[in-house]
């Protein structure tokens, strides 16, 4: 059977037309069913021929379903969706965010928000399905958006790395059901040129080139193999020029190349290191070598740089019998399937013999140049021997469900906990002269959370600033992740004995943290002290975009009859207590 690495190399070489034609029908030996569902926020559909090719080559007959474009949450929550009604072996949650993506740009200052969103997706998929979940990392930008100075301000690379750290952590925390598809590593391997297809991204929201789709399919197939118990279990190794350089029977223990310092001995030492690691995760090691047994054992027992020792090998055939017979013997002794074996040998003849005689065995020949050898096994990615099967998955599901219920109970508190953890600080005060340009700009730019979308010139703001009967307040906020800057403006006027809220606006990125509550409270309390005003009016002017002001006014305690003039009497006002924001009223901001 071909290794996944060999399949990848073959795909990269073949044309799109040939690839598509090759997966027209499942081959006869593709008998093991595997079902895969894609949840996606972009066009991942072009992956289909690639993934099918890998699966067919691994004897899987696949059932691949693509979800709706960017409809993830709805599909998860709808218990009539295909995702929910049919249990899939694998759910691939494919999330692509281009560096110009609004969500990503928003998350610059506050990746937490983005992370919470992802966490909601992932938690819900785990809770509502019993499938294995494949999650991808995001791709860090190829270019710095602010050039050499990018390190002095929030930048995308940092934000994405933080998000990726979360995804990795999530996978580790849910290791029994989640697997990492490390997109960022694919791009490292392939480079921008072979990863991203900007033409199809802009035309069809299909951002990936074929090399990338091939690596992605490769990893998905690994999970399918592991799930269906088809990952390799046993590594059968030749000795001479495989576990050391040279021939022990001729060069002797002092003459073979194996050490930690010099080339090429270091190459074999590093290869042994990889083999040892595999043995530690449960891969069975066996020897199959044409040699005098005593010579071989001498190396494993006495060579100072042999990391592998005799006791690492579960079985061995060191003799002059042909290797195909020896491997059949080994398989019988170890009581494992012949298709779970990987055979490594430096001799082309031996490799060809095994490929022909035992086609189910995966054969790897020691590469030339030899310095490519240490990476051989990792590159082939054969030994994903997670002890995982359907039963584990369903047992885990029940456990998981119980956990989810407990979590749900706690959920009502979690937003509060989250907000508290932000360590928000709000600086609210009558503006200083330096803040006038920024305040003006906000009155001109802000559309959504804006009472009446009244635009002002700098001169007008200056007039308010100097007037006895008006006050201009600014809100500057920050949390433990960074500074939001000056993001809120409230202009109050004293008209007779009453107060008028002339302007009230906030930048959207600071909403939903109760900053709007403390802002209004602080300003009105300040005016009450200064002017003795307790009755307030706010004139709401609806636009296409500012409807979210209305629920805020109502929640805050304003009343209205015509949905235009809103009133508030401070003597009957029960101000919402906000404890998670530290409010400061004195201080300097740099607008």
């Amino acid at each position: 059977m071909k290794t996944l690495q060999e399949i990848h190399e073959q795909i990269v070489k073949s044309t799109t037309a040939d690839l598509i034609a090759s997966v027209k029908e499942a081959p006869l030996n593709a008998t093991h069913p595997v079902s895969i569902y894609f949840l996606m926020n972009f066009t991942i559909n072009p992956i289909e021929p690639f993934l099918k090719h890998y699966l067919y080559q691994s004897n899987f007959n696949s059932d691949i379903i693509f979800g709706q474009y960017d409809n993830i949450m709805q599909e998860i929550l709808d218990d009539q969706s295909i995702l929910r009604t049919k249990q899939f072996d694998l759910v691939v949650c494919s999330l692509f965010y281009h560096t110009q993506d609004a969500l990503l740009i928003e998350s610059l200052n506050n990746p937490e928000h983005f992370i919470n969103q992802l966490s909601t997706y992932f938690d819900n998929i785990l809770e509502k399905t019993s499938s294995l979940l494949l999650l991808n990392t995001l791709i860090t930008p190829f270019f710095s958006e602010t050039g050499i100075t990018s390190q002095v301000r929030p930048n995308q690379t940092d934000a994405i790395l933080e998000i990726n750290q979360f995804i990795r952590h999530y996978v580790r925390q849910h290791a029994n059901r989640c697997f990492l598809m490390d997109w960022n590593r694919y791009t490292q391997l392939l480079g921008e040129q072979n990863s991203l297809d900007y033409r199809y991204w802009y035309m069809y929201k299909a951002p990936f080139k074929k090399d990338f789709l091939s690596l992605y399919s490769n990893d998905i197939t690994k999970v399918a193999r592991a799930l269906k118990g088809k990952a390799k279990k046993c590594l059968i190794l030749d000795c001479d020029n495989t576990l050391w350089g040279g021939i022990i029977g001729e060069d002797g223990i002092g003459g073979i190349k194996l050490d930690n310092h010099n080339y090429p001995g270091k190459v074999f030492y590093d290869f042994q290191q990889t083999v040892l690691k595999l043995s530690e995760i449960g891969v069975i090691l066996a020897l199959c070598s044409k040699n005098n047994e005593q010579d071989v054992w001498e190396v494993f027992e006495k060579h100072p740089y042999s990391l592998l020792r005799r006791n690492h090998f579960a079985a061995h055939r060191i003799n002059w019998v042909n290797k195909a017979d020896n491997i059949i013997d080994l398989v019988n002794e170890l009581n494992i399937g012949i298709d779970s074996c990987v055979f490594v040998d430096d001799s082309k003849t031996e490799c060809e013999l095994i490929r022909t005689a035992l086609p189910d065995v995966t054969v790897l020949q020691v590469p030339q140049p030899i310095y490519e050898y240490p990476a051989l096994l990792l590159k082939a990615g054969l030994f994903d021997t997670i002890s995982l099967n359907q039963e584990d998955a369903s047992r885990n599901k029940k456990y998981q469900e119980e956990n989810q219920r407990k979590q749900l109970l706690k959920k009502s508190h979690s937003v509060t906990d989250y907000l508290a953890s932000l360590e928000l600080v709000a600086l609210i005060h009558p503006i200083t002269e330096t803040e006038i340009p920024r305040v003006t700009q906000l009155t001109q730019k802000t559309n959504q959370f804006n009472l009446n979308t009244q635009r002002y010139t700098q001169q007008q703001i200056e007039n308010f600033y100097h007037s006895e009967n008006s006050m201009v307040f600014s809100l500057t906020a920050k949390d433990k992740f960074g500074d939001y800057g000056l993001t809120g403006v409230l202009i109050a006027k004293k008209i007779g004995k009453k107060g008028l809220i002339d302007t009230f606006l906030m930048s959207c990125r600071v909403l939903s943290r109760n900053l709007e509550d403390v802002f209004v409270q602080t300003c009105l309390n300040y005016c009450k002290q200064k002017w003795g005003v307790t009755e307030w009016e706010a004139d709401f002017v609806p636009s296409d975009k500012n409807m979210q002001i209305v629920p805020f006014l109502q929640k805050t305690g304003f009343t209205t009859e015509d949905n235009q003039k809103y009133f508030l009497n401070m003597n009957q006002w029960s101000q919402e207590k906000v404890t998670h924001i530290k409010v400061i009223t004195e201080g300097i901001t740099y607008a």
């Binding site: 598509i20 034609a21 199809y200």
Partner: protein, 80 residues
């Protein structure tokens, strides 16, 4: 010759016999010829003929005769 190569690609991508492809073969008559398949078609033709199509060309080549014309056009542009 060029015509045969185009036919072969259409046949591979849309799973239709080469013999059935004629002047009337278009996205209206081939059931599998959807936007996703069209993306693959463009890439496959670009690989086969070593050309790269402009946005307009991509959108235009919705039938066998138009593909042949466009491929010729793109190949000429390449040699200029």
């Amino acid at each position: 010759m060029l015509e045969q190569r185009v036919k072969k690609i259409l046949s591979q991508l849309f799973q239709i016999p080469v013999e059935s492809i004629n002047e009337d073969t278009s996205s209206d008559t081939v059931p599998n010829w959807n936007s996703l398949a069209h993306m693959n078609l463009v890439v496959a033709l670009e690989e086969e003929f070593g050309v790269s199509f402009s946005d307009e060309q991509m959108i235009e080549m919705l039938s066998y005769p138009l593909i042949v014309l466009t491929v010729k056009e793109a190949a000429n542009e390449k040699t200029i």
